[in-house]
């Protein structure tokens, strides 16, 4: 019998090793798996490479992971935010490596890993510093850059509902990177607000089919908090 539901965050994260590449979903606070990140901090694996859209806010979640000194490298699109001072200080001090990736290249590179693509040509980034050193090619009169897939050992994502087969739904814009990260990681760990019985999710509305998910853990629902923006 398939039962991907694990009873605790600690169990879900027990086998993360030093040096692992860990994808972390979320855009702003939406879809940010803070409970899993806190679990990762408690677990203690170090020298991590983190793949995420941002690089942490204030001193919670991803920023706390950085502050704990557990991260060697961040692959992300938008590290600089109003309250990204933990990352900013580590970066300026040369204590963390940054691979900056245009956000669409980031999501497409993650999807590519999940879809068995060895690399793809994109117009995005051509002629910019972020394509420096990358192979370029003219295709039908336009210039493209070759981008590589981004694979991961783990993906930590926040979903809405899940079942024991690992099927997931999401809530509004909290979906963001969850589905593609689930495809790209060897082990995908999803926190959900509700565990439902097999068959309760509408098969037409399952967003992430269970094949892409290895572990599901229930967390208490709490309102997503504002994150990463400066009020006008």
């Amino acid at each position: 019998m398939i039962d991907k539901i694990v009873s605790s965050i600690a169990d879900a994260l027990a086998d993360v090793c030093d040096g692992a590449t860990v994808m972390i979903g979320g855009f702003g606070g939406a879809g940010m798996p803070n409970e899993l990140i806190d679990g990762l901090i408690a677990q203690g694996a170090g020298e991590l490479t983190i793949v995420a859209n941002n690089a942490g806010n204030a001193e919670f979640g991803l920023a706390a992971l950085l502050k704990a000194g557990m991260v060697r490298k961040v692959i992300c699109s938008f590290p600089r935010q109003a309250d990204s001072y933990v990352f900013d200080a580590l970066y300026r001090a040369g204590k963390i490596e940054l691979e900056l990736v245009p956000q669409g290249n980031l999501s497409e590179r993650i999807r590519a890993a999940g879809a068995g693509i060895g690399g793809f040509f994109t117009k995005v980034g051509f002629g910019t510093d972020l394509a420096k050193g990358k192979e370029v090619r003219e295709i039908n009169g336009e210039m493209y850059v070759l981008e590589a897939p981004i694979h991961a050992d783990y993906a930590l994502i926040k979903a809405e509902q899940g079942d024991r087969w690992g099927n997931l739904t999401y809530r509004m814009a909290a979906r963001n990177f969850g589905p593609v990260m689930a495809m790209a990681a060897k082990t995908t760990i999803a926190s959900v607000h509700e565990i439902v019985l097999l068959g309760q999710l509408d098969p037409e509305a399952v967003v992430t089919p269970g094949i892409f998910v290895q572990r599901v853990v229930k967390i208490a629902r709490s309102a997503t908090v504002a994150s990463g923006y400066k009020a006008a």
């Binding site: 702003g28 669409g104 290249n105 497409e108 993650i110 910019t128 814009a173 589905p179």
Partner: protein
């Protein structure tokens, strides 16, 4: 001089006036977000957000804020009837393959060849951050820039060649500033209109590059 610069809201309204009924539009973070407040009545314009929303509506009242429903600037928004959610790769597919009619982006500099610089000043100690800017710049059918014409120190943001790191090559088709509307053509900048009281000669003397009539 007898001209008055457009305010940010006037500039936003000027841009909104040019967005056609039925257009799919992405408004970049920062100033372009203001355009949403000025969409002309009677037009149905569909706003896309890079984090996976099509059909964004206005900001909610403060008691109805839900931070699972935010725009690219991480501010709470609403969803119109007919809106939908999708994941990041699907969202960027929309943005990168010409499905959006218009992207409105802020800028540090725009060059006469349409090059855009808006993501990084290139300062040694600056933390770089690009987000979806490069995707939008080259992906939309039309890329419009919304910016002040001059920097705070009075330098023109219209330039012969960008000195800041590029966001995209030859991608800008039109520029809306607080002083003028300017098209980017194969022959360089071409004036569409100036604010009242500003002559093209004056505009050219303020700009560091030639703008053709």
């Amino acid at each position: 001089m007898s001209y008055v610069k457009l305010t940010r809201d006037q500039l936003a309204a000027r841009i909104a006036k040019d967005i056609h009924d039925g257009a799919y539009v992405n408004l970049g973070i920062g100033m372009p977000t203001l355009v949403a407040n000025h969409l002309p009545a009677g037009r149905e314009i569909i706003l896309q957000s890079e984090n996976g929303i099509l059909g964004m509506g206005p900001a909610p009242t403060s008691d109805a804020e839900d931070f699972d429903l935010i725009n690219a600037g991480k501010q709470p928004v609403t969803l119109l009837r007919g809106g939908s959610y999708f994941h990041s790769a699907d969202s960027f597919a929309m943005m990168r393959a010409g499905h959006l009619d218009i992207a409105v982006l802020g800028a540090f500099q725009v060059a006469a060849n349409g090059d855009l610089a808006n993501w990084h000043t290139g300062g040694k100690d600056d933390i770089p951050a690009v987000g979806g800017a490069m995707d939008l710049a080259v992906g939309a059918k039309q890329t419009w820039v919304m910016m002040e014409h001059l920097t705070r120190s009075g330098e023109s943001k219209l330039v012969e060649r960008c000195t800041y790191p590029l966001t995209g090559v030859g991608c800008v088709s039109r520029i809306y500033t607080d002083l003028a509307v300017i098209d980017v053509t194969a022959q360089g900048f071409k004036l569409v209109e100036c604010v009242a009281g500003l002559s093209l000669a004056e505009l050219n003397s303020l700009s560091n590059v030639s703008i053709a009539p």
